[in-house]
Amino acid sequence: MRRRHLAAVALCALLVSACGGPGRQAVAGAGSSPRPAAPSGVVTVFAAASLTDAFQAAGRRFEQANPGVEVVLNLASSSTLATQIVAGAPADVFASADRAQMDAVANAGLVTGGPTDFARNRLQIAVEAGNPRQVTGLDDLARDDLTVVLAADAVPAGEYARAALDAQDIDVSPASLEPDVRAVLARVAMGEADAGIVYASDIAAAGGDVIGVPIPAEQNVAAVYPIATLVDAPNPDVADAFVAFVTSGAGAAVLTDAGFAAP
């Protein structure tokens, strides 16, 4: 009986220690003279799914420039992330694909630094390489013989897509409403859907399976991406440093490489 109790206590202790993060911040400045400590520790960044490649690259650059820092990314649709943050998820930084989701977080009083617009994006139609179904523009998406997928209405990519379609009075019956924009891309890449509306940056990240059919500027929407640090950030100093990096020239270069435009 005694041994089992000990095992249970040990297990609990292990679980509790595995949860802890704050302890790592004590590393910086230990034993050195009092000067501003270099950013260190874990920074948790909640970023829109369309920022996957851009922020993975940005995270690596930031870690290289700041040894001792670890960037942890939580990538999902901005609407999912906003819901998580408002429900109390511990995040340092939130980078959203539209202002609406950032506003949702700001209205809950959870934004402290920002928001700052750091990138723009445009929509494109994703089709299989070679464009076998000969999709030339938004009008084609109303065709009966095409299987079209969009992001769900609450997701920024879905909202932007609907806005673009409604502005042109195009009636699309999507076969599925995906939980984030990368899922739309995946459907096209796998050949399950003939076309989907994604961001230009997603096409850039897609590799050989998918190409983008451009949407002319007058039919397109300008997606504005804001970034902000959050009120209950576990690591506010590194959070500020990360946002400063993203909004700097170095960050802009990473974003441009990934297919984004300047804010």
Binding site: M1, R4, A8, S77, S79, T80, A82, T83, T147, V149, A152, D153, A154, P174, A175, S176, L177, E178, P179, R187, M190, G191, E192
Partner: protein, 252 residues
């Protein structure tokens, strides 16, 4: 030991209590008449019952094979039959796409010959739910068959009953508790299926958006609707478990 058990009860009970406490009782009428909610309820009911029917039609013979026949590769077959129970549902969905998707092993010829595609359809939802839920029925019914006293069937045979008649009039009534338990578990699992459904069949209100998918997506738009749907699913699960009254996997 007792206090660990209490912790376990707390872990299981507290989330469910939180769900009940946060239910928007005042908006119940409005939400139950909301088009998205009703579509999800109706679709879930139709597809889960269809999946149950398919699982029973296919699962009982499979359970019979596993319980009563010896053949090479039987161990492998049993492992395969149980596999969807331990497979992460999204993985199941991906596997279904690779088999039955538009470019799938079976899906591509199917599309080429008949123009039928399973993803993004109600049939696709039923297929996904059957894939994850059938093993529950197979396992329970197989255990039930194993525990039957075969002498009753032998006696029926000596009295001149054909194998099919003996099965219908002797085996099935004896099997009823295990069959009922298997069907209840199968149906509950099909009703709650999410990962394989959203990956294989996609998500479209009215056609493929079952209740679990609606909860996932409505959570961002209308949290109250999501909580209400969750409560309905919870209530159904409780009813099933109470009806089973302790007769879980393994029958009897």
């Amino acid at each position: 030991m007792g206090w660990l058990g209490l912790v376990a009860v707390g872990l299981l009970l507290l989330p469910l209590l939180a769900l009940v406490v946060n239910t928007p009782w005042g908006r119940l009428g409005e939400l139950l008449t909301d088009a998205t909610v009703r579509a999800a309820l109706r679709l879930s009911l139709v597809t889960s019952l269809a999946a149950l029917l398919l699982s029973t039609l296919l699962g009982v013979p499979l359970a019979w094979l596993l319980a009563r026949r010896e053949f090479p590769g039987k161990t492998l077959l049993r492992a395969l039959a149980v596999l969807p129970m331990v497979l992460p549902p999204v993985v199941g969905g991906v596997a279904l796409l690779l088999a039955f998707g538009r470019r799938g092993l079976v899906g591509q010829p199917l599309d080429a010959l008949t123009g039928i595609t399973l993803p993004f359809s109600v049939a696709g939802v039923v297929l996904a739910e059957t894939f994850v839920a059938m093993p529950f029925l197979v396992v329970t019914v197989e255990a039930g068959l194993r525990s039957l006293d075969r002498r009753y069937e032998d006696v029926a045979a000596t009295l001149g009953a054909s194998r099919w008649l003996a099965f219908r009039r002797v085996t099935v009534p004896l099997l009823r508790p295990s069959l009922a338990a298997g069907m209840a578990l199968c149906w509950a699992r099909a009703l709650g299926e999410f990962g394989a459904t959203i990956t294989f069949a996609g998500n479209l209100p009215g056609r493929t958006q079952t209740m679990p998918l609606a909860v996932f997506l409505e959570l961002e738009r209308d949290a109250d609707a999501a909580i209400l749907l969750s409560l309905i699913l919870l209530a159904v699960s409780v009813v099933v478990l109470v009806a089973l009254r302790g007769r879980y996997l393994g029958g009897g």
